[in-house]
Subunit: 125 residues, 2 copies
């Protein structure tokens, strides 16, 4: 499913075609990113379980600092604003924390007993 | 460059290896996503230029509604919270708006004269 068949009114067909081409690329990229992020959340959930099972320290500030530095460098390579890469990591971390909180809430209700230490985990992993 | 060589103290080597494996996957995914987003921003910048050059209407609420519905459906397929997909689009849109504002500021300073109508563009594209 693409979402680029917009009613663009009386636009030059060549321009509309170019707009459709660009929007199709945007739609493809968005789909790829959503599926990549689904894989990323699977990884962070596994990290959360591993840490809970083996009583590893929840936060790892050194790892987080390396992640931020690395993403800023990658953004530079990709000609993106490095500040954007840091914001992106923060955005993802907020979602991981939300996942962990949900797991902790489930644990409080007796659903997944080993996961309730995950609230303060190093969420970027 | 990966960032998973954390000093995890006296952790079972098998556990540390598993943690490293997961963090390497997270690092790979983050790199992929950063590069995908760099491509996405290239597309939105082209859309911005196209709209400015051909005096197309800046916003396209129908396109935006389709994008949100599609990303929510994709998130469902990927077993992600559909609300996350919508938040993700909003996060990206905020960055695109920031790009457009920077282009508009440049235009105000005489750098890129055709781009100063882009401030109110449909930023998700």
């Amino acid at each position: 499913m693409t979402t680029s068949n917009a009613a663009d009114g009386d636009v030059d067909p060549a321009v509309r075609e170019e707009l459709t081409r660009l929007r199709d690329s945007i739609d493809n990229i968005d789909a790829a990113v959503i599926y990549m992020l689904a894989e990323r959340f699977k990884c962070t959930q596994q990290v959360g379980r591993l840490k809970a099972e083996h009583r590893l320290p929840p936060a790892d500030p050194a790892r987080e600092a390396r992640q931020i530095a690395r993403l800023r460098a990658l953004a530079g390579d990709a000609r993106l604003d490095p500040a954007f890469a840091e914001k992106f990591l923060n955005f993802i971390v907020a979602e991981v924390i939300r996942h962990h909180e949900r797991i902790a809430d489930d644990a409080a209700n007796g659903a997944t007993p080993s996961a309730n230490r995950s609230r303060s985990f190093s969420a970027g992993e």
